[in-house]
């Protein structure tokens, strides 16, 4: 690990002048915020991330570490730990997809450490990104190419990829957030702003290095999740190489509002298969007004992967992803709420 200076944040206000730009500029950055450190220190040991300064935001927990439930929705502070939100009875009852996406992620130790704000910004598990002996990675070295295109790409994305990068977005919680139309609150150098969480992450296109719309110095402070009728009938299904403590090969966050046997609202977000948290809107539309039986669920799965572009080793993700969507929808439809 390269040397860096360490300081504790005194207040959100004080941070505005100091900034932390790891989220936007990737690896060769001067400053990085740290909460749990489960991504940052891992990648610093691998020499993938090289901040000169690490700013510890944990002293801000009194302000950013709260779970608040109000009439119109749920507010999750960015410093809430994954395990706190996963075990919260109100979240389990009213927003099960959020709790499940967190419980099925990482390990109990990592969930005790990792903050929700850091979780949504975790970096891809692409082997070529994490292993610096591979020179050609457009995320680490812009313009160097992508070793995964012709390499071992079993874990890589079939949706949202470009010829510059096919790295999969690795998280779970983000899929639940976009399915529920969550909003993210950001404190930047010019003040506080909010944006739809779905707008936070970018597809790689020509600039895989830039993964989000965050600017240098921006700090995620909270997530706002509106109470919608579909939230209680929601679920997260995660398919992986082993039953626990593993990243998704395919996952689906779904939420349904069903009345009189007909779907009034449907939400489908895909994980493990795309370069960013992926909302399958066309598949959702196909369910509206329909009875959610196995045929309808399977058709939604097919529509969700219509634009898939598999590579040499990840074509199985198309079939696996379709089945994952169908199974998640059938499970949600049968939930007793």
């Amino acid at each position: 690990m390269r040397p860096f200076t360490y300081e504790r944040a005194a207040s959100v206000d004080a941070l505005r002048a100091r900034g932390g730009d790891a989220a936007r500029d990737g690896m060769k950055t001067s400053r990085a915020f740290v909460a749990g450190g489960t991504t940052l220190f891992d990648l610093m040991k691998l020499d993938v991330m090289q901040p000169d300064a690490v700013i510890d935001i944990n002293p801000l927990a009194n302000d950013l570490g709260r779970i608040e439930v109000g009439g119109n929705g749920l507010r999750l502070g960015a410093l809430v730990r994954m395990s706190e939100a996963a075990d919260d009875p109100r979240i389990n009852r009213d927003f099960p997809v959020l709790a499940q996406s967190l419980t099925l992620a990482a390990s109990p130790q990592l969930r005790n450490m990792a903050s929700l704000g850091g979780n949504v910004l975790q970096r891809t598990r692409c082997h070529y990104f994490r292993d610096t002996s591979w020179a050609n990675c457009n995320k680490r070295n812009p313009g160097s190419g992508c070793a995964a295109l012709e390499g071992m790409n079993r874990i890589h994305a079939v949706l949202g990829a470009s010829d510059n990068c096919i790295a999969t977005y690795p998280g779970d919680f983000a899929q639940a957030l976009i399915a529920l139309d969550a909003v993210v609150e950001v404190q930047g150098r010019s003040g506080k702003r909010t944006l739809a969480f779905e707008k936070l992450h970018r597809v790689p296109a020509d600039t895989p290095r830039i993964e989000t719309v965050l600017e240098p110095g921006d700090l995620i402070t909270a997530f706002l999740i509106p109470t919608i009728p579909a939230a209680r009938r929601s679920a997260y299904l995660k398919i992986r190489d082993r039953e626990s403590y593993e990243f998704a090969l395919a996952s689906a966050a779904v939420a349904l509002d069903i009345a009189n046997g007909q779907v009034r609202d449907a939400r489908i977000a895909l994980g493990g298969v795309a370069t960013k948290p992926w909302r399958a809107r066309e598949a959702e539309k196909a369910l509206i007004g329909k009875k959610l039986d196995e045929d309808a669920a399977r058709r939604a799965g097919e529509i969700a992967f219509q634009g898939a572009a598999p590579r040499a080793h990840n074509a199985f993700k198309v079939a696996l992803g379709r089945e994952t969507v169908a199974r998640a929808l059938m499970h949600a439809a049968q939930m007793e709420i």
């Binding site: 690990m1 040397p3 860096f4 200076t5 360490y6 300081e7 207040s11 959100v12 206000d13 505005r16 002048a17 740290v34 749990g36 450190g37 489960t38 220190f41 891992d42 040991k45 691998l46 000169d52 300064a53 690490v54 510890d56 944990n58 801000l60 302000d63 950013l64 709260r66 608040e68 439930v69 109000g70 009439g71 119109n72 929705g73 507010r75 990482a106 390990s107 109990p108 130790q109 990592l110 005790n112 450490m113 139309d181 909003v183 609150e185 404190q187 003040g191 506080k192 702003r193 909010t194 944006l195 739809a196 779905e198 707008k199 719309v213 402070t221 706002l224 509106p226 626990s244 403590y245």
Partner: protein
């Protein structure tokens, strides 16, 4: 609607969003002030990244004042500086659980924790479990009784994790124990006996 929010500020204000929540008015005072307070223009001399940090670690009830490179993980500080080698370095990347310790009573991975970040917080390691008279913690005894290890390298992490697993309320069923112990890998695959040990210690604690 959020769908067409683009980069425009979202229509949901925090106060309106939370509606009648009584806590809403009191939260995030620093953020609210941040929008109005002018920035202080004070410049700070560039700090030296190689200067050691003065840190006091509180391990198993004893304070250890240390001078540490900021890069030092809690695991390395425990093993190399404090002299407690019970916590093991397996992968050093948060993938195996061998380095599991308790900080503020919660199980965490000491290999992905900087020592400077836990200064003055209570840290408990495997060495802090037995009583001063040598009597083992019920979980340690259960691992012996149930033959829950072969080579023993993962065992300190397994035991620290297992104690937390019960304290969290995640050891009520067989499948819960398997799920909530999944962050601790055992290359000897002593898993069935580890689950049996967790059950034994759980029942001792409850009984």
């Amino acid at each position: 609607m959020l769908d067409d929010a683009d980069d425009k500020p979202c229509a949901l204000s925090r106060r309106g969003f939370l509606g009648g929540a009584s806590a809403a008015g009191a939260a995030l005072p620093l953020v609210a002030e941040a929008a109005t307070k002018p920035r202080t223009g004070r410049s700070v001399a560039a700090p030296d990244a190689r200067a050691p940090a003065q840190v006091t670690l509180r391990v198993n009830g004893t304070d250890h004042p240390l001078s540490l490179d900021t890069r030092t993980t809690l695991l390395d500080a425990l093993r190399e500086k404090v002299g407690l080698t019970g916590s093991k370095k397996g992968c050093d990347h948060g993938q195996c659980g061998a380095c599991t310790v308790h900080v503020d009573g919660k199980r965490v991975l000491s290999c992905l924790t900087l020592a400077v970040m836990v200064a003055d917080k209570p840290v408990t390691t495997i060495e802090g479990l037995a009583r001063p008279d040598g009597r083992l913690h019920p979980m340690q005894q259960a691992f012996i009784d149930r033959d829950a290890f072969q080579c023993g390298y993962c065992t300190p992490g397994q035991i620290m994790s297992a104690i937390a697993c019960i304290n969290e309320g995640h050891a009520k069923t067989h499948s819960d124990i398997r799920e909530y112990m999944s962050g601790n890998l055992c290359r000897c695959a002593a898993y069935p006996n580890i689950v049996a040990a967790v059950k034994q210690a759980r029942d001792v604690k409850e009984g």
